[in-house]
């Protein structure tokens, strides 16, 4: 069966070009970039090129790029570095729709280290309450950390405005740009963020490679203490193969950014509008404008997400649901709950996240599958009768 992959916010296909770039370094060219010999040195050259390519994608200087093992490590490193830099400041500001990669760290810091964390709420469209955010900034705030784009809904936060306010107040600002990278333009110089996380496997590089951008001048303290690698900011022999792959992926992402915001966006909009038109009782989660071009979170009244996903899966369609059903919690995702999406559609919310590998034929296949799937489930739902909710 042909696979229709529309779960790119979960992970992406490693691009063929990326694999080709990596293969020699997985095979013959296995030298250690820190070695004195030419054999290692040639790998170091390639790592340097990769660092430059990553820097180019976000308009950073190469020395500001720290390679890590994943987005989660980048996020954790940023927060720990901030609290090490300002041990007396016991307040952190974030939002209530962050990724577990960072959200669970806050809970840990609250519980075990006595931190006070302000989880700034979002409105029904997933947009941040900026007044509350600005009012909660204080002398005691060690760091503000907000995601650039939400993984479930694709909703974008106004990172540039917030960074500006944070800078004015002299508060450190970090953004988790794992979902924003390669989908919207990122310019760290213009934005003025202090730290920024990104992750390889969301942008057609392999899993297990991440980046933390650290602005020059910040007294960064390493999360992994060890060798002198990464300018003493992250111990451990470099994951050369993945770094080289990520470099190539960043170069491609820069080229593909216009496609993402034209072709891919048009496909997403086509899918969205067709589904809204053909399936009554459906609604989009999140602001329609302030949103990633590739993401569609759409809720269907009176049906449940896991059932939809399994029926889509039968037709080779990969998507994900907003419900955390398998984790024992039957509540819909914390993101949809924070947005006060009504239960009637929150449980039946599905996320489609596209890439430039998707085609119009694939969108048509999804539409043709989803329409009867929702009908089938509604036919046996006690909350649906004669074409509407009861």
């Amino acid at each position: 069966m042909k696979i229709v992959y529309t779960d790119n916010n979960a992970t992406t296909k490693v691009a063929d070009e990326v694999i080709n770039e990596m293969l020699p370094y997985l095979g013959q060219l296995y030298g250690n970039p820190s070695s004195m010999h030419t054999f290692g040195g040639q790998v170091d050259k390639k790592v340097t090129q990769a660092r430059q390519r990553v820097a180019d994608l976000i308009n950073a200087d190469p020395e500001e790029i720290v390679f890590t093992s994943c987005g989660t490590e980048s996020d954790n490193s940023a927060i720990y570095s901030a609290i090490n830099a300002f041990p007396d400041k016991k307040h952190i500001i974030t939002s209530n729709v962050e990724h577990p990669a960072i959200n669970n760290l806050y809970k840990e810091l609250e519980k075990t280290k006595g931190y006070e964390v302000t989880f700034v709420p979002v409105d029904k469209k997933g947009l941040l309450d900026l007044d509350l955010l600005y009012n909660s900034m204080s002398q005691n705030t060690a760091i503000i950390s907000l995601m650039w784009a939400n993984n479930e809904t694709g909703v974008l936060f106004p990172i540039e405005d917030i960074a500006k306010k944070a800078n004015e107040k002299g508060i450190l600002f970090h953004t988790d740009a794992v979902q924003a990278t390669a989908k919207v333009p990122i310019d760290v110089k213009k934005t003025g963020v202090d730290m920024l996380s990104l992750s390889g496997h969301k942008i057609h590089a392999p899993k297990g490679i991440g980046v933390l951008y650290v602005k020059k001048g910040f007294k960064f303290s390493p999360f992994l203490i060890g060798g002198h690698q990464e300018g003493g900011r992250r111990g451990g022999t470099e994951n050369t193969v993945s770094i080289i792959g990520l470099g190539k992926a960043c170069e491609m992402a820069k080229e593909n950014l216009p496609i993402m915001n034209s072709t891919v966006k048009e496909l997403r909009d086509y899918l969205q509008n067709q589904l809204l038109e053909k399936i009554p009782g459906s609604s989009v989660n999140g602001d329609l404008e302030q949103r990633l071009p590739n993401t569609l979170s759409i809720g269907f009244d009176a049906v449940e997400g896991e059932s939809i996903l399994l029926l889509l899966d039968r037709q080779g369609i990969c998507a994900s649901s907003g419900s955390a059903c398998t984790s024992g919690s039957l509540d819909p995702s914390h993101v949809l709950m924070a947005m006060e999406v009504p239960f009637k559609s929150a449980h039946g919310s599905i996320r489609f996240s596209l890439s430039h590998y998707n085609t119009k034929e694939e969108m048509d296949h999804i539409i043709a599958t989803l329409v009867p799937t929702i009908q089938k489930l509604r036919d046996m739902s006690p909350f649906w009768k004669d074409g509407k909710m009861i």
Binding site: E304, S307, L311, C325, G328, L330, D331, M380, P382, F383
Partner: protein, 187 residues
């Protein structure tokens, strides 16, 4: 997600006995939209108190649909007295087992059946005895104590898997922990 047995998959993909049942003389409803799953069970019971037909309507995940489908297959032909003895394990066993996190789906089947039988017999199911511990899912301390004893549950996760209690806002988790401790303390 693919922890499901072939039997569960079969009953999810090809559910038996769905839809409203014309001429039903007993109906049992459990769950709600907010909970994330709900089951409405329709029975046709003859003058000898035998279930001659059963159908269901379910909102929920694959195992909720499969449990409902299995339930209707099991109880068709049973007397109400026998049906009243059915447990959630019978439903789960019929399906070759359910993943732990989905045990509450079989509990839901058992609960809808109880309500349908009460509906037929015209008895009112009284306000639940005991104190509500989990507001989100309307679960009492006595229900938790029963489930802990019957299934040797050890942790709050176990309780959530069986009764859903604690799987919503999570505010009741400490209280659930206390209830589990109290059962253990009494041996």
């Amino acid at each position: 997600m693919w922890d499901y047995t072939d039997k569960v998959k079969d009953h999810f993909l090809n559910p038996r006995n769905t839809g409203e049942l014309e001429g039903a003389n007993a109906i049992g409803e459990t769950g709600s939209l907010n909970c994330g799953d709900a089951l409405k069970l329709f029975l046709k019971v003859n003058e000898n108190e035998r279930i001659v037909d059963a159908t269901f309507m379910t909102f929920g995940c694959a195992s909720a649909v499969a449990s409902s489908s299995a339930l209707t297959e099991i109880i068709k032909g049973m007397t109400l007295d026998d049906a009243a003895k059915l447990t959630n394990d019978d439903i789960s066993d019929y399906l070759g087992g359910l993943p732990k996190a989905k045990m509450h789906c079989s509990v839901m089947g058992q609960s809808a059946l109880k309500k349908a039988i009460a509906d037929y017999r015209g008895v009112q199911i009284l306000e639940k005895p005991g104190q509500i511990v989990c507001e989100c899912f309307d679960v009492t301390d006595l229900e938790i104590i029963d489930a802990v004893k019957a299934n040797n549950l050890e942790s709050t996760d176990d309780v959530t898997n069986y009764l859903k209690a604690g799987g919503g806002c999570g505010q009741c988790l400490e209280r659930i922990e206390e209830v589990i401790e109290s059962v253990k303390a009494k041996g």
